[in-house]
C-alpha cells in the first residue's frame, strides 16, 4: 500500500493494443460464434445445441477478456469549488457624488464592500472569491485592502473609461484550474461608455448569455436617480457666416416626470438660440435641433445649457461647451455706384468673375435731370432700394463700396448714415472710390460717414485736382498687404512705378492721424488711405481711374495683373481675411482638460504697418459663453520677433473667449485679436457620468441575476453550484493475469472439443 486513501474505482482496459484491433477482434469472435451456431443447427437435440453454443460463447467471452486485459482503476477524487468574481468599478465617474452632497460613488462602493466582507468570507468556504477592479481593463484587487481604504476611495477611481461588458467577459474567463463560474457580483454606477453606452443591445445580450452565470449588480449612486444631462452636442467644426448653423442636442432625464426643459445656446452671455424639449417620464432621451445664424466671422465659444433642477445628481452635465469657427463661404460685397463709368465696369467685372465674391450692385442710371423720353414702363430701372441696402441687409454685407457715389438729397440717405457708420465700427468694411461725385463732392462731409473714413472729406478746395498722378508707395505701403503687387520691396516699388499715370485725383481735407497712407502721387497727394475704426476697416481710393492699371496697362504690354492683385488684396484686407491679420492669437489646443495643463495662448503681434511689434505689452482678457464680462487673465511682453506666449490660470469647465490687446511700451495701441477655446473633459467618462442603473438592471435580467440592494447579503444569493470533481491520485490493477481465467478458458475449450467428438462432430 502506498498510503493513499482511494475513495472510488472503475473498470478499465489495460490492453496496449490499438482500439481498432480490439474492435476487429470482437467482430471476428462474434462472426466465429455465429458460424459455429450455423454449423450445428442441424443437430436434432436442442439440449446438445444449447450446450455447444453455450460453451463456445463462454470461450469467446473469456478470449475477449484476455484481449481487453480488464483492470480496476482506483481513484482518489475531490470536489472542485466554483468561482465568484466580484467586480468593482474603478472608473473616473466613480469620483462623482453618489447622492447630492454625499460621499463619492467610489467611497460608497468601498463602504458597501467593507460591510459585505463577512458575506464574502462565508462564501469563501464554498466558492473561490476573485475580486477585481474594472474600468477600461480588469485588475485583481485585494478586498481587505480596499475595504480598509474607504477614505482614499477617489484614488482608486482613475480609469479613463468604463467597459462593463468587457470586464464581465474577461472576469468570466480569468479563472484558474478550470473552475466553473458560479456568478458575478458587480458594483458600479453603470455609466458605461463602451458597448453598453446606448443600453442593452442584442449583441451585448448574446455576449452576456455566453457567461452562463448570473450577474448580481449593485447600482452605486442609484439613490441619486434624479438627473438631467446634456448627453451629446453635435455641431460642425466650422460654419459659414450668415448661414444657418444647427446644433443637435441629446438630452437625457432620469428620475424626472415628463418635463418641458428649456435649452439655450449662448455666445458670450447672449442667447443665440433656444428651444424647449419634452423629456422625462417614459422618454428618457430626447433630441433637439437648435439653430442660429452667425453674423460675423471669427472663432467663438458657445455653451448649450439646460436648467439645473433641485436634487439633481450632477449639475456639471447640464451644460456642454463648444467652439465654432465662423468663416465666409463668399465675401458679400455691395457695390453702390453714383454713375456708370469705366472704373465701375472694370471693378464690377473683376468682382463678378471672382468665385469668392457674392456681388450685389446698385447703380444710379438716371438722375432727376435726365430725360429718358419714355415712360417708366419702357425702362428697366428700379427704385433705389435704400432701406433694403442700408438698413435691412446692411449687416449681411462684408464690404460696402461707394464708387463715385455722393449723398444726393434725392437719395434720402441721411436717415441711414449713422447705421452705416455703426455697421463699420461693429466689424464691417467700407471702401470709397473716387469720382466726380466722391469725397469732398459727395456731401458726406461732416456726417457719420465722414467720421469713419480714413480721410476727412470737408474741404474748400476744388473736389478734383486734375494734375496727372504717378503713384508711389509710402513707407507704410511698402509693408502693407493691400499694396503688395509682387513679393519684395524693390520689385513691388518698381511694379507700382511702371503703372500708367492716373488722370487726376479727388481732393480730401486731410488724412486722419489714425489712418495710413499707402499710395501717394508724385507730389504727395494721397491716393490710397486705409484705416481701422472700431472693429471695422475703411479704405479711400481718390481716383476713378484705377481701371488704367488694368486696361491701359494691358495696352502697354503689362496686362491687368496689377489691377487684379491690388483689388483682391484690398478686399481681403478690408474683410479681415485671416491671412492678412497683423495680430494673431492661437490657443495651444481647442479643448483643455480641467485640471490638466493650463491653457496657453500663442500671440504673434505686428503693428498695423505689418512690422513685428517687439516689446508690445500684451494683456489677455477672458470672458465665457455664460458671462460676457472680460476679466484679466494673463500678461506677457512680445519678443523681438513679435511673438509671445500667455499662460492662463487653471479654469473651470466652460467655453472661453480670450481677447488679447497689444500696446506699445510707450502706450499706443498696436492691435487686438481674439481666440476661443473650451475647458471640458475630452472623454465620455466624465462627459456622461450620470448613474445608469438601467444598464445594470438589464445586465442582471439577461443573465438571470438580480439587482442588489445595499443591505442584501451576498452569501444567500442563488449562485450556480455546478458539480465538478478533481482526481488527485489514481492506480490501476489488472484482472487478467489471474490463472483462473486462462484455466477456465482451457477447460471450456476442452469440454467443448470432447463433447463434439462424442456427439459425432468433426
Amino acid at each position: 500500500m502506498d498510503g493513499t486513501s482511494y475513495n472510488a474505482w472503475r473498470l478499465t482496459s489495460l490492453s496496449t493494443l490499438p482500439g481498432w484491433v480490439l474492435v476487429l477482434a470482437c467482430a471476428v469472435l462474434c462472426a466465429a460464434i455465429w458460424l459455429s451456431f450455423r454449423g450445428i443447427r442441424a443437430e436434432p437435440s436442442a439440449r446438445r445445441r444449447r450446450i455447444l453454443i453455450g460453451l463456445r460463447i463462454a470461450a469467446g467471452a473469456l478470449l475477449l477478456v484476455l484481449l481487453l486485459e480488464p483492470g480496476v482503476e482506483l481513484r482518489a477524487e475531490s470536489r472542485v469549488r466554483a468561482r465568484i468574481a466580484v467586480l468593482l468599478d474603478t472608473s473616473k465617474s466613480m469620483r462623482f457624488p453618489a447622492a447630492p452632497g454625499g460621499p463619492s460613488r467610489a467611497e460608497a462602493m468601498l463602504g458597501w464592500l467593507k460591510s459585505r466582507l463577512p458575506d464574502l468570507s462565508a462564501l469563501a468556504s464554498r466558492f473561490q472569491i476573485d475580486v477585481y477592479g474594472f474600468d477600461k481593463e480588469l485588475q485583481p484587487q485585494d478586498p481587505e485592502k480596499l475595504a480598509a481604504s474607504v477614505g482614499q476611495a477617489d484614488q482608486l477611481a482613475q480609469g479613463p473609461s468604463t467597459d462593463l461588458l468587457g470586464a464581465l467577459g474577461t472576469a468570466a474567463a480569468a479563472g484558474t484550474g478550470g473552475r466553473p463560474l458560479a456568478g458575478l457580483v458587480v458594483a458600479s454606477d453603470g455609466a458605461d461608455n463602451a458597448e453598453l453606452i446606448e443600453g442593452m443591445t442584442p449583441q451585448a445580450s448574446a455576449e452576456l448569455q455566453k457567461l452562463h452565470a448570473p450577474v448580481f449588480a449593485l447600482p452605486v449612486g442609484a439613490q441619486a436617480m434624479r438627473d438631467l444631462a446634456i448627453d451629446k452636442v453635435v455641431v460642425d467644426d466650422f460654419a459659414f457666416v450668415r448661414n444657418q448653423v444647427t446644433v443637435d442636442v441629446t438630452v437625457s432625464a432620469r428620475g424626472f416626470p415628463s418635463t418641458d426643459v428649456p435649452l439655450v445656446v449662448k455666445r458670450e452671455g447672449q442667447i443665440v438660440a433656444q428651444k424647449t424639449v419634452r423629456v422625462g417620464g417614459n422618454t428618457q432621451r430626447a433630441e433637439a435641433k437648435l439653430s442660429f445664424v452667425p453674423d460675423r466671422t471669427g472663432k467663438f465659444a458657445f455653451q448649450v445649457a439646460a436648467p439645473v433642477y433641485e436634487g439633481e445628481a450632477l449639475a456639471q452635465n447640464n451644460s456642454r461647451s463648444f467652439v465654432l469657427k465662423v468663416i465666409r463661404d463668399r465675401v458679400r460685397v455691395v457695390l453702390v455706384v453714383g454713375r456708370p463709368s469705366w472704373d465701375v465696369r472694370f471693378l464690377r467685372q473683376l468682382l463678378k468673375r471672382d468665385p469668392n465674391v457674392d456681388l450685389i450692385s446698385f447703380f444710379i442710371l438716371r438722375t432727376p435731370g435726365d430725360d429718358t423720353r419714355s415712360s417708366q414702363d419702357e425702362l428697366s430701372l428700379i427704385p433705389f432700394p435704400t432701406q433694403e441696402i442700408f438698413q435691412e441687409q446692411l449687416k449681411t454685407f462684408d464690404l460696402v463700396i461707394f464708387q463715385d457715389f455722393g449723398n444726393r438729397p434725392w437719395y434720402h440717405l441721411s436717415q441711414y448714415l449713422d447705421g452705416i457708420a455703426s455697421y463699420v465700427r461693429d466689424g464691417g468694411a467700407l471702401a470709397v472710390v473716387g469720382g466726380e461725385q466722391a469725397f469732398s463732392a459727395s456731401d458726406f462731409g461732416g456726417t457719420a460717414i465722414d467720421a469713419v473714413l480714413p480721410v476727412s472729406l470737408a474741404s474748400s478746395a476744388p473736389p478734383v485736382e486734375e494734375t496727372p498722378a504717378q503713384v508711389r508707395l509710402t513707407d507704410a505701403g511698402k509693408r502693407h498687404p493691400v499694396t503688395e503687387l509682387v513679393p519684395g520691396v524693390a520689385a513691388n516699388e518698381h511694379a507700382w512705378a511702371r503703372l500708367p499715370q492716373l488722370p487726376g485725383l479727388n481732393t480730401v481735407a486731410s488724412v486722419k492721424d489714425s489712418a495710413q497712407t499707402l499710395l501717394t502721387s508724385q507730389d504727395g497727394r494721397p491716393v490710397l488711405v486705409v484705416g481701422e475704426v472700431g472693429r471695422g476697416r475703411t479704405l479711400a481710393l481718390t481716383t476713378d481711374a484705377s481701371w488704367y492699371w488694368s486696361f491701359v496697362a494691358a495696352g502697354q504690354e503689362m496686362g491687368p495683373r496689377a489691377y487684379e492683385t491690388f483689388w483682391h488684396g484690398a478686399i481681403r484686407w478690408l474683410v479681415r481675411d485671416p491671412a492678412l491679420t497683423p495680430m494673431r492669437v492661437a490657443s495651444e489646443r481647442t479643448t483643455f482638460e480641467p485640471g490638466g495643463d493650463p491653457p496657453a495662448l500663442d500671440v504673434q503681434v505686428r503693428g498695423s504697418d505689418y512690422g513685428a511689434a517687439s516689446g508690445a505689452q500684451l494683456r489677455a482678457q477672458l470672458s465665457s459663453a455664460e458671462d460676457a464680462t472680460q476679466r484679466l487673465a494673463g500678461q506677457a511682453v512680445a519678443g523681438p520677433d513679435g511673438t509671445a506666449r500667455i499662460t492662463l490660470p487653471q479654469l473651470p469647465p466652460g467655453a472661453y473667449k480670450a481677447v488679447v490687446t497689444a500696446k506699445r511700451p510707450e502706450g499706443g495701441d498696436v492691435g487686438e485679436a481674439e481666440e476661443a477655446f473650451v475647458v471640458q473633459p475630452s472623454g465620455a467618462e466624465l462627459l456622461q457620468p450620470a448613474p445608469r442603473p438601467d444598464v445594470l438592471r438589464a445586465v442582471a435580467e439577461v443573465t438571470r441575476g438580480k439587482v442588489l440592494e445595499q443591505d442584501d447579503r451576498l452569501d444567500t444569493l442563488p449562485f450556480r453550484d455546478p458539480e465538478r470533481v478533481e482526481v488527485g491520485q489514481r492506480k490501476s490493477r489488472p484482472l487478467w493475469d489471474r490463472w483462473g481465467v486462462l484455466a477456465a478458458l482451457c477447460c471450456i475449450v476442452g469440454v467443448e472439443w470432447t463433447l463434439r467428438r462424442r456427439w459425432g462432430y468433426a
Binding site: 469705366w342 465696369r345 464690377r348 425702362l379 428697366s380
Partner: protein
C-alpha cells in the same frame, strides 16, 4: 491732334458750347464714355456726326458722363486702350489690316475692350460685311459671330427693347462674339450709327427706313442700351432687377 477728325472737332466744339448737357467735369475723359473710331485704310468714318450725337443722347438720357469728342485711332495706337468702346465702320470693303494691328485688336478685345462693327452700307452680304467677317476671323480665330438672343441683357440694360434696328432694317438681329461672358464684338448690319447722325443745326442727316422717326428713336435707345451695357455689363441680370423687368415686359 492727328487722331481727331476735323469734322468731329468742329461739331464737338459747337455742341459743347451750345447744347451739351453739362455737368461737373474734372477728371477729363478717363471716367467718361468717349467713343473711339477705328482708323483704317478705307472710309473709316462714314458717319462723322453719328457717335457725337449718340454721346449727347446718352448724356441727356442717363447718368453716364460722355464726351462729344470721338477719337479716331488706328488699331496699333496705344491710346486705343484709353477708350474701351471703339467703333469699326465703313460703307465699303475694309482694306486688309496689318498683322500687328490685328494682334493689337485681339489684345484690346481680350483685355476688356468693346468693338462695335457697324455696316454703314446696310447691305446684307455686301463688301463691308464680307471684309468685316474676314477681319474678325483673323482677330478672334476661335470666336464666332452668333445671333444675340432677344432675351439678352443688351435689350434691357436701360430701355426695354424688343429687337435691334438702325438706319435701315437689313436683318432683324445683331450678331456678337462672346469673350469671357461678355459681348466683346457686336456686329450691326443696319447702319446703327447712321440713325444718330445729326448736323450742328439739328437736322437728321439720313432718312431712317422703313420705320421713320419711330425707328430712329428705337435706334437711339439701342445706342443708349449699348453704352449702358458696355459700362454696366450684365448689371440688369442681377436678381434684384428681375421682378421689375418681368412685370414691365408683361405690360
Amino acid at each position: 491732334m492727328a487722331g481727331w477728325s476735323r469734322r468731329t472737332l468742329l461739331k464737338a466744339a459747337l455742341a459743347a458750347g451750345l447744347a451739351w448737357p453739362l455737368r461737373a467735369r474734372a477728371f477729363g475723359d478717363a471716367s467718361r464714355l468717349v467713343f473711339a473710331q477705328l482708323r483704317h485704310g478705307g472710309r473709316w468714318d462714314p458717319r462723322p456726326d453719328g457717335l457725337p450725337r449718340l454721346a449727347w443722347e446718352v448724356a441727356k438720357r442717363t447718368s453716364i458722363e460722355t464726351s462729344p469728342m470721338v477719337r479716331g485711332l488706328s488699331a496699333a495706337d496705344p491710346d486705343l486702350f484709353r477708350h474701351p468702346f471703339t467703333v469699326l465702320s465703313s460703307d465699303v470693303a475694309l482694306p486688309p489690316m496689318a498683322d500687328a494691328e490685328v494682334s493689337a485688336l485681339r489684345r484690346y478685345i481680350s483685355y476688356g475692350g468693346f468693338l462695335l462693327v457697324d455696316d454703314a452700307s446696310a447691305q446684307s452680304g455686301g463688301p463691308f460685311e464680307m471684309s468685316a467677317r474676314d477681319l474678325l476671323a483673323r482677330i478672334l480665330p476661335a470666336g464666332k459671330l452668333t445671333r444675340v438672343a432677344r432675351e439678352h441683357v443688351l435689350y434691357k440694360s436701360f430701355y426695354l427693347l424688343d429687337g435691334p434696328t438702325g438706319r435701315s432694317v437689313t436683318r432683324p438681329d445683331l450678331e456678337a462674339i462672346d469673350v469671357g461672358g461678355r459681348l466683346a464684338v457686336l456686329y450691326s448690319p443696319n447702319d446703327l450709327v447712321g440713325a444718330f447722325a445729326r448736323d450742328s443745326l439739328g437736322t437728321w442727316e439720313l432718312e431712317v427706313v422703313p420705320g421713320g422717326e419711330g425707328q430712329r428713336e428705337k435706334a437711339i435707345r439701342l445706342g443708349v442700351n449699348l453704352a449702358m451695357y458696355t459700362l454696366c455689363l450684365d448689371y440688369k441680370e442681377d436678381q434684384v432687377h428681375i421682378p421689375f423687368i418681368m412685370k414691365r415686359r408683361r405690360i
